[in-house]
């Protein structure tokens, strides 16, 4: 019985509540009329014709004194002026404050930059100038405190300005030649100087120009010319049989030692072929292994046989294991010397223990010799 009551209650709870019959009637009405419903306001419940009715009071016209009004207007204007002045003053104060703040920031940045510059300057030589060895170059002492780059730049500018002139007098040409000479010397000094900073080195360059091609009659190979040249008879095709004893060779000694030799051996007539043993061929080549010896006949300009010559065809043996091992060491055991991280890692990877300073000294000597040779090559003393 209890279960039955409980089930009924549960069903009542689960079942949706039936909507009333009038539900949505108002909305349907609105839809039919097409507008909103007008509900008239409730009428005043107070009874009409009450006994405590009051007549409206009479107000006399108010008198305004023009002088007082003017004074009031003046006072208002004065207050406005004062407010404007105060506003301007505060704006000026704010502007001043902002400017002061900006100036302080700029000043601080300037000081920081100056501090950094001082750090850099301390690392640079005392004077940023060339210190070429006066013993090596007599002109080195004359180099102004750098300066050197400025001088080089100004020389460049002067030279360029002179070059822009259409016709130079003899005097101007001499002047230009002097400038060129000066510039070359100065360039050489700056390159030689050990203390020239990297930034300066990177912009140093010689004004090596390009010769005027129009005046030099430069040969030109056109497509037609190339075609004609290719159609000329091949160099080695014109074989003239001089003797029946000789075996003709197409293309001369080109690709002779390759597969072509096999064909020659295979096709060689008995009278020109001679079987040989390895021992007979063994001593022909000093550091290689001969596999054939071929006697060639050459002709002279009169088409006769001029001479004969022996050629050896051989194979190259790989270096003996001990030498090959040495070679591998040569490649891997190289004194890794540069100070950059790549080489440090590479050096560590192969476990090389090298004398870095000695290597740098050796390489520097090589580079210095090269630099000196370059100066001589360029005609700079």
């Amino acid at each position: 019985m209890r279960k039955g009551i409980f089930l009924v209650l549960c069903l009542l709870l689960v079942m949706p509540a039936p909507s009333p019959l009038w539900a949505g009637a108002y909305e349907q009405l609105l839809g039919m009329t097409g507008g909103t419903a007008y509900v008239p306001p409730a009428s005043d419940p107070s009874p009409s014709g009450s006994s405590n009715y009051q007549e409206p009071r009479y107000r006399e016209p108010r008198y305004v004194d023009p002088a007082a009004a003017q004074k009031r207007e003046e006072r208002r204007k004065a207050r406005q002026r004062a407010r404007d002045q105060a506003r301007k003053k505060s704006a000026r104060a704010r502007k001043d404050e902002r400017e002061d703040r900006e100036w302080e920031e700029k000043n601080r940045e300037r000081n920081e930059k100056e501090a950094k510059r001082q750090i850099v300057l301390k690392q640079l030589p005392p004077k940023w100038q060339l210190k070429s060895d006066p013993k090596k170059s007599a002109a080195a002492g004359k180099v102004p405190s750098l300066g050197g780059l400025n001088d080089l730049t100004s020389l460049h500018k002067k030279i360029e300005a002179m070059q822009k002139q259409e016709k130079l007098t003899v005097q101007q040409q001499n002047q230009l030649a002097d400038l060129d000479k000066k510039m070359l010397d100065l360039w050489a000094q700056m390159v030689r100087a050990a203390d020239t900073p990297d930034q300066v080195r990177k912009v140093l360059r010689l004004p090596i120009g390009f010769a005027d091609a129009s005046s030099q009659n430069v040969p030109r190979l056109s497509q037609d010319m190339l075609r004609n040249m290719l159609q000329l008879p091949a160099d080695n095709d014109t074989f003239v049989e001089l003797s029946k004893d000789l075996m003709p060779v197409r293309n001369g000694l080109v690709n002779f030692a390759g597969d072509y030799l096999q064909n020659i051996i295979a096709a060689a007539p008995v009278d020109i072929f001679e079987a040989a043993t390895d021992a007979e061929l063994g001593g022909l080549l000093k550091n290689s292994l001969a596999i054939a010896k071929v006697t060639m006949a050459f002709r002279d300009l009169s088409k006769g046989i001029a001479s004969v010559a022996d050629f050896a065809i051989g194979k190259i043996p790989m270096p003996q294991a001990s030498i090959a091992e040495t070679g591998r060491k040569i490649y891997t055991n190289i004194a890794f010397a540069s100070l950059n991280s790549f080489m440090e890692k590479a050096s560590a990877a192969v476990g090389v223990n090298h004398d870095s300073a000695a290597f740098i000294k050796d390489l520097k000597e090589e580079a210095t010799v090269g630099q000196r040779a370059f100066m001589e090559w360029m005609g700079v003393k």
């Binding site: 000694l253 040989a276 390895d278 061929l281 294991a321 005609g379």
Partner: protein, 319 residues
Amino acid sequence: MRRLLYITLLMVLSVIPLFAQSENVEIMSETTLLLPLSDGINTRWVLPPASSDFIRHFKDMRLSFSVDHAGHAWLGFADGTVLCPEKGYMFKLPETFWDFVCLDNGVILFATTSRLSLLRVSDLLQKTSSDTVSLQPIAMLPPNCSRMVKGAENCLYFICNDEAARENTIWLFKPQSYQGIRGIPEYQKVFVSDSPINAVAGDGVNTWVASGRLILKIDAQKQLHRYYLHPHQAIVDLAYTKSSGLFYTTAFATGYAGVNGAIELLNTRAPVIACAGNSLYVLFAHSFGVMAIEGIDQLLNYDLPLAGIKKVMAPRFDQ
């Protein structure tokens, strides 16, 4: 006494591998040599092949190869690494370069993006430089250059390509013999071509240019001549010495190009060549081994028109 025993034992142990090796000689694959049988001409290993780690690291990089006046081989790689194994030098430059040459007068020059530069080594104690080894710019290069080539008599050639004008040019720089009207050395344009230029060599007076299979000669009078036409392959590089003449490489060979014909001295894959003194240096690009063919000046004696083969001595195939 004990020390003597140790030394003897060590000597015996060190000799055993040599005996073992003499039995098995390893031959370089895909490589054949053709040399005149003459006393002065022979081969010599300058640098044995490199280790596999080295080859793996550098094999795909652009390589520059040059030999200095003392006959030392220098290698430069696209990442700025330069090495001269014989002298024990290896360093990495802070800036990359696309070519470098060692001239016979001792000058080592690098071509960076647009500048010609010298090698510079600063003192360890000198604090003005952040890098110990760096490049000192010298001058601007001719525009749009792709190769810088060492010529004989201390001259430099540049191969440049102006794609906009579809013009390929060769510039020469020979400061000791040519200076402009101002008395300063200048680059000279020595050749212009509509076709691509693969290689150049010369001494500043005579110049040889390779385009496709053809080698052209520009003589002192600036006249063009056909010098040599390779029957099979395109010429990829040239090298010239005053004493020996002109050498060329293709993708599969290196040879001597005389006036009367060519002698292909070496058949191998992708050789790289350089000349110094009386030797031709061949770099085997797949192993970085360098071999010198010495006595190349004697090749001039064999620059004659070939008549034919007189005799062949070789083992039979069945032997």
